[in-house]
Amino acid sequence: MKILTTPRMERCIGCHSCSLSCARLVHKRISWDISGIRIRSSGGISTGFEARHCLACNPAPCSLVCPTGAFSQRRGGGVIVKKKLCIHCGKCSPACPVDAIYTDAQGEPFVCIHCGRCVAYCPHECLELTDIPLRDSKQIPTGDEP
């Protein structure tokens, strides 16, 4: 199971190519918000950048509070998103401990699905799609594989 990681954010130059690629390729949008990874300046632009993205919680608090199953637990961490089931209740975003879920003006949530399509667009190799060992998932509710 792979997850998106950001092991070399010290190299980030703030070009937003990752966010724009996620929006363009995954969500078919032109945006730096509608994206599973979003870049913020860290304590002011002069001290570099940080990435807001899903850290692949297992269990994922956002999936636990989702009342419809639109967010369900992904094996290995993170969530599987079924947009058709989402009623835009807005519970997932505040449940995320690291502010990784973006909610647009219509209340639709957007979160990283760990597809890794952004990785190739980072000019400084800040991002990586990493294999993680599956943790004991006996007690963890699981969803379908993507």
Binding site: C15, I30, S31
Partner: protein, 582 residues
């Protein structure tokens, strides 16, 4: 496409009211430079001075902003306090994407706010806030406060002015996101005159991506050219400072107020030296993976027992020329420390450095003294220059107030116009020869970016006036095609006419794709016509004597060739301004 017209936010700062206007003309002017000129003609009063409340301050982006890499500039159009005529200044940073995602093609600011204010806009946000407590604050301090006051870290632009802008200095820049600038021609003074300390734009909107496979395929094609080939290497490797050594080698680097064009002391301030000693990290404009912004550091011992503070300063070729070679400073840390003061004051680094170089020579010649300069100015002495910068930004006395309006304004009173390094405005760092001198003196923005005269000089030693002027006119039109798109000019090899056409087609601007070169020619005419209507006469620009006594790689400047070049270029400009649109 996002839209085939222009969606423009027009803010009346006097009344505190705004309206969104849908304006036609996409297929006539495209955006960027063309949109700036179109809006200037619509909103300005050409016969009134630059500081009449009605005069607009315009920020415009292009049809490909948000869609493709390096479409990351914003064109600022206004009536300049430097010469009281129409002009443009360009900057990158997050300005362009923030405006795109705020869902505006342009922002037009008219009127004067009743007290020092900050304008905050987004796709669902518009506020004019009193920030009277920021009066006199430098760029660093105001930037920190503004970041705290407004939402959207990382997805916003914060444009602001320093003391120089508040003091209406014709050398005041508009700082964009700390490390980029609308530098030249005094845009900062226009903001200051409007009582506008800052503009924060939150990019919180989004658009549907073009359907089909062509757009993402073309995006990847451009992205690969930008990141996987050597086409952009020079910009992210040493960056523009690589030119310091190469121009010094060919006797084309202005030293000590252009009293020389080469000096072995260059070793302390080459691009390599900055990379080895000063470079902390790179930065990028939003939507550009190149990362050409080079950020160095200065540290300052502020107390005994090794108590230090440090600051980060972005550097480039031009600021190294103006605060280094032009002032005889040959230590990289000292160069950055002068730049740092200019940044804080909100001064255009190029103009301010060149002005101080003139003041230093005027001091040497006894035209002015410490009575005027407050601190003793001497080539090579950085500590005094750092203090002088504060005096210049703060318009500390009559001398500095006059100098901040332009070197020639000070020379009118104190003498020394013959060695003022002014070509329409304070010179850029190219003592390459007659073509560049004629070009900067006469061209639209009086900028080295208007057309590649500096490159022409380095490739041609023959004296062919028609050939050289044809190059300047044609190269300007080519660059206008890019600035209408708000492409970074570093990408001019990638975004050739064919590629721009494909990009426009892929996002639905078929008419623009078919006619862009034609549009560029029309915008070229429109810009000249507009500038001339505000009082420009290219024949009236004088080239100071200093430029006729310069030695370049081709030998001494040929005064006759320079005069004839400038005369012919001026004729062509006047003809362009008078011609009908094609």
């Amino acid at each position: 496409m996002i839209r085939d017209f222009f969606r423009v936010l027009v803010v009346d700062l006097s009344q505190g009211k705004s309206k969104v206007e849908n304006i036609d003309g996409r297929n006539e002017v495209a955006g960027g430079s063309g949109l700036g000129a179109l809006l200037f003609n619509r909103f300005s009063l050409p016969e009134k001075p630059w500081d009449a409340p009605e005069q607009p301050l315009i920020f415009a982006i292009g049809p490909l902003t948000g869609y493709f890499p390096l479409m990351s500039k914003t064109v600022c159009a206004f009536k300049s306090p430097y010469h009281n005529q129409f002009t443009e200044s360009h900057a990158g940073g997050r300005t362009a994407l923030s405006l795109r995602f705020a869902d505006y093609d342009a922002l037009v600011l008219c009127g004067k706010a009743p007290s020092l204010s900050c304008l905050v806009i987004g796709s669902r946000l518009l506020e004019i806030k009193d920030v009277n407590f920021m009066r006199g604050m430098d760029i660093t301090e105001s930037g920190k406060l503004l970041r705290r006051m407004f939402p959207g870290s990382g997805h916003r632009t914060i444009m602001r002015i320093g003391p120089a802008g508040e003091n209406r200095s014709a050398m005041a820049c508009i700082n964009a996101d700390t490390y980029r600038h609308f530098g030249r021609m005094g845009g900062g003074a226009v903001m200051g005159d409007k009582n506008l300390k800052a503009i924060a734009v939150l990019g919180d909107g989004e658009f549907v991506a073009p359907a089909g496979k062509e757009y993402p395929r073309l995006f990847d094609d451009v992205f690969k050219q930008v990141t996987s080939t050597d086409m952009m290497k020079k910009y992210h490797n040493l960056g523009t400072p690589a030119n310091i050594k190469s121009l010094n080698d060919i006797h084309s680097l202005p030293w000590r107020n252009l009293q020389a064009t080469s000096d072995p002391l260059v070793a302390g301030i080459t691009g390599e030296r900055f990379a080895d000693e000063n470079l902390l990290r790179n930065g990028a404009c939003s939507g550009c993976p190149v990362g050409c912004i080079h950020i160095g550091f200065v540290r300052e011992k502020f107390m005994k027992d090794n108590r230090y503070l440090y600051r980060q300063v972005a550097y480039d070729y031009e600021p190294i020329f103006s605060t280094g070679t032009m002032l005889g400073i040959t230590d990289s840390f000292s160069v950055l420390s002068i730049m740092d003061e200019m940044e804080k004051a909100g001064l255009d680094v190029m103009s301010a450095g060149v002005a101080l170089a003139w003041a230093t020579e005027a001091t040497e010649k006894g035209l002015i003294s410490k009575k005027e300069t407050i601190v003793p100015l001497q080539f090579g002495k950085s500590a005094s220059y750092r203090q002088a910068v504060v005096h210049l930004g703060g318009a500390a006395n009559e001398f500095y107030a006059l100098l901040s309006q332009g070197t020639l304004r000070a020379a009118e009173k104190f003498g020394g116009a013959e060695f003022a390094c002014v070509l329409g405005q304070e010179m850029a760092g190219y003592a390459t020869g007659e073509v560049f001198f004629a070009a900067q003196a006469t061209s639209f923005r009086h900028s080295h970016l208007d057309c590649g005269g500096y490159a022409y000089d380095q490739k041609h030693d023959e004296q062919d006036i028609e050939k050289a002027v044809n190059f300047l006119i044609d190269d300007e039109a080519g660059r206008i095609a890019l600035t209408c798109m708000v492409s970074c000019l570093f990408a001019r090899e990638i975004y050739n006419s064919e590629m721009l056409s494909k990009c426009l087609e892929s996002v639905g601007y078929s008419d623009l794709a078919a006619t862009l070169p034609h549009i560029a020619l029309n915008v070229q005419r429109l810009r000249w016509k507009t500038r001339i209507a505000t009082g420009y006469n290219p024949d009236s620009v004088t080239i100071p004597k200093r430029f006729f006594k310069v030695k370049t790689w081709k030998g001494m400047i040929d005064p006759l060739y320079l005069k004839h070049l400038k005369k012919r270029y001026a004729e062509r400009i006047l003809a362009l301004g008078a011609s009908q649109y094609a």
